[in-house]
Amino acid sequence: MTRLEGHQNLIDRIIVASTSLANSFPAVGPSDDGPDDLALALQRISTDSHVVSVWGDRGTGKSTLLKYVLERMMDDPRFCVMPPLSPELFGDQDSLLNVTLAVIQANLLKITQGATDSERLEFVKDLQRTRRSAAVNAIPLDRLVTAATSIGEFARDIQDVAGGTEQMWQDVQRLFRSAVTFDERRKSIVVAIDDADLMRSTSVVELVRQVRLLGSCDHVIVIIVGRENDIVTRFVREAREDSYVHVDRREFDLDLEKEIRGAANAQMRKTFPQWGTFQMPEPDWDERLGFTPTLSDQSILELLTTIDEVMAKNALDACLVDSLLALSHVARGIWSTGTMAFPLSSNLRALAQLSTSLKLCLDARDISSPTRLAQTLSSLVAMIDVPFGVQSRLEWNLKENSSSGSERGVLEAFIDFSSIYGAVQAGQWKELDALTVNSGRREASRHVEFDLRPYRRQFARWSVTSTSVRDYEDWSGSQGLLLAVQGILMHSPAIHLSNESMLTDGANLNALSFLQSVKLYGRQTDDHFLTFPHTPSLASTIRSISAWNGIVERAATERLSLRDVLALTIEAAIAIFFDERDADIESADIGYGKALDHLESVSELCFAQLRGKTGDPGLRQHLLAWYQRWVPNHWHDAIFSADEIVGFATRLVDLSGGTNPVAHPLRIYGDQSLGRRLSRYASDAGKTETVENRAWTGGYQTVVEALDISLPPTWGLIRQAWQRLGVAVAAGGVSMSLSEEGPVTSPSRSIDAGVSAAVATEESELLLAYARARLRNWASSL
């Protein structure tokens, strides 16, 4: 229970409001007949709701405050306080009314203290009649019939339910009126509802309706505490479920949404009048940082400090901690400055979740047992709030991987996030125009563009559909949960992920071979240029995605050339698959030749490690296979000179021990993967159109010769088309050069010259994109 220092003023105000309300009720005596049905109905529709509401986040002390308020009221003879109700404990058939009536029955002696036996008997009769009426009204008709139900009983039940609701409420009003007559000082029965927002999510509308009706009765004061936003949200959601019955859920109906929101707000205003609404003060952020679930636990600050220390030894943790902090919307800046940029969430429950998550993640780094890991994951998901949109608990299947052979991984994990509906999106992509046209006309005639924008969008977004909820944006909850689970898995010994896993932030494992949007001589290519080795474990997957993100970011910021980007992928692959660490893209040196030297030396070490059975064989083999199969894809004539390509290929052949496949599994051999793709392209090259579309693959002629790749005769057509294109562009460049007046006016010279006062606008961006696209079409049309 939270301590509530400084809340006395709030308690006093609630008592004053309740006392004032109680004093406004008409005085009644035991012999009064009371108003008739019409008068009761008129009174109900004209009376303000007698509901006192206290709103605040979980953990802010609402329940404690309610306890103090009720204790104060119990000392006042004007109030007859009933034990507080907890809607979270309500069963399927329970409603606020029938639970309240049951509580009155249980406290019969307290309520009727001072009454004569006949008065008490009369009260009991009224109570039982009202209870039966309330119970029948709360049960759906189809459940009223049981095997033992007679036709007569069923007919009576139908009659009771049909049109009986109004009468039932008049009985309720009379009952409360009667309840205050047994003590002349008594003014009101107090019905308190704790944690109203924890009501079953499908019953909030009914709860609010019953609170309003109960609160419209004289001589009863309803005190309700909870999270207002949760109630409104659930109210809206429930109303939406009803309203969209005849509307296609996939289509957002703005008018219907306005109507639903309007109805929810009106109902809230009527049920919880302004005069009786109180807001719990929020704790300041010092209190939050010092939060501990129990006195013996470490505070959030201490846990953060511990992780901070660990993080200094292992950069991977930065990703994890950021993810965990997302649970509580904590600013990232805490790590670099040691201070919090803005306060933590006010929700202490979230802090408890954060605290547990941090502890679990710290523990998880020692977990090697599948059973313990499963328990840790269960603990995490059990204790944090499952994001909205999750229709069922997340499930996973962890088991011993019997087929892992010599690989280090011990677990297979399959986590089904299909029931989460969420979308996570990174920031806007920056304009990227990286052309390798910097040195002289000859280079300038090689038009190589690359564009990572589609991938920036692709990797940054994950969204899963749900059949039962509408489109929803969940920026923190689902992401936080996903990443926290990722973090725990990441810190366990290597795990094998199934291909269906959605743990990779939108990129499935097969998609880790990234097709880059590369244009050669203005023609779009459609093969993989920028790739990573296949990722056999979660850690390598996450690291590859992280590296990919870093490369995209750096390419955008520094406007790197394609050649530079390819160099970064090599350095990243070495870091992830050989050094088994995060790739430090931000500070990595750029140089393709140097990167390939590095890869070559690492490959030798890989062979040695594989022979010596040290390191992760899976990672090493994937790195070697990538060098063999995908790195030669870099060696395109438009990107590298013929001499460079021959040098690269020769070293690969030397390292591999030849250009033919060899039986030894630990050796690699001159690429057959590039050869297979080129063969396929060449085999398809039967039509002029196909030849032109595939002409860019003709730029692999140098590496084809160097690796002695055998291709079908139609390769000649592609080769010729590429050569003709290259000659055309070169001839164009030379012709223009010879025709020029004065020195070459290279537009690229002025790229950094001066900064225009004009600011790029949506309009200018659109115009530029439009113009460039039209120019490309114009250039390639004859």
């Binding site: 979308a423 806007q428 046209v437 002289g440 000859r442 005639s445 038009h447 924008r453 589609p454 969008r457 977004r461 969204s463 559909t465 489109d471 920026w475 203005g522 779009q524 010729q720 050569q723 003709r724 000659v727 055309a728 562009v729 070169a730 001839a731 164009g732 030379v734 012709s735 050069s737 010879l738 025709s739 020029e740 007046e741 004065g742 290279s746 537009p747 690229s748 002025s750 790229i751 225009s756 004009a758 600011v759 790029a760 949506e762 309009e763 200018s764 961006e765 659109l766 115009l767 530029l768 994109a769 439009y770 113009a771 460039r772 696209a773 039209r774 120019l775 114009w778 250039a779 004859l782």
Partner: protein, 178 residues
């Protein structure tokens, strides 16, 4: 406005190929920032290079293509340039005509691009204004026609922007599911 007449030269004289920001401004691209203009100038320069080359080599026999390919692949760039120049004069003596014509066509294309863009955006904004004024009124036929053509224009604009270029547009989807 720049035009072919202002730069008409004899066949052997040099041609003003300077693609400058002022030249671009004269063709209706004042709205771009200087970095954007530089990007567009590079695109224009490369487009012109490609266009000239494709026209010159369109009917060139394969043997000559191979011959020229061998010349420009010479490891010494200076030698390659000298030989390429001679080869051009021997085998494609009309290359200056082609360069001049393509230069003119490039101007016309850029002018057409800026004009088309203004038209497309103008008609789009006009329809949007009409729709703002009459949000609940069914558009009369004339508006429907205009609206259709505007939609078509927008489609054209986007299709001209091609694959990835549309990514330059601000992402209006927010975090919603695609």
């Amino acid at each position: 406005m720049p035009g072919p007449d202002s730069r008409r030269t004899s066949d052997n004289s040099s041609i003003d190929l300077a693609l400058t920001i002022d030249w671009l401004d004269g063709l209706g691209f004042e709205v771009l920032t200087e970095p954007q203009k530089t990007i567009l100038l590079k695109a224009a320069f490369e487009a012109m290079e490609e266009k000239v080359g494709l026209e010159l080599t369109a009917n060139l026999p394969n043997e000559l293509v191979d011959e020229f390919g061998a010349i420009i692949d010479h490891p010494d760039a200076e030698v390659a340039d000298t030989r390429a120049e001679k080869w051009l004069q021997d085998n494609l003596p009309g290359y200056r005509h082609v360069v001049r014509r393509v230069r003119f066509e490039l101007e016309q294309e850029l002018l057409s691009i800026s004009t088309d863009f203004t038209k497309i955006r103008g008609s789009t904004e006009q329809v949007l204004r009409v729709q703002e004024r009459q949000p609940n009124v069914t558009s009369p036929n004339v508006d429907l026609v205009e609206s259709d053509s505007t939609n078509q224009n927008l489609e054209n604009l986007q299709s001209h922007s091609l694959e990835n270029e549309v990514d330059l547009l601000p992402n209006v989807e927010g975090g919603r599911k695609e």
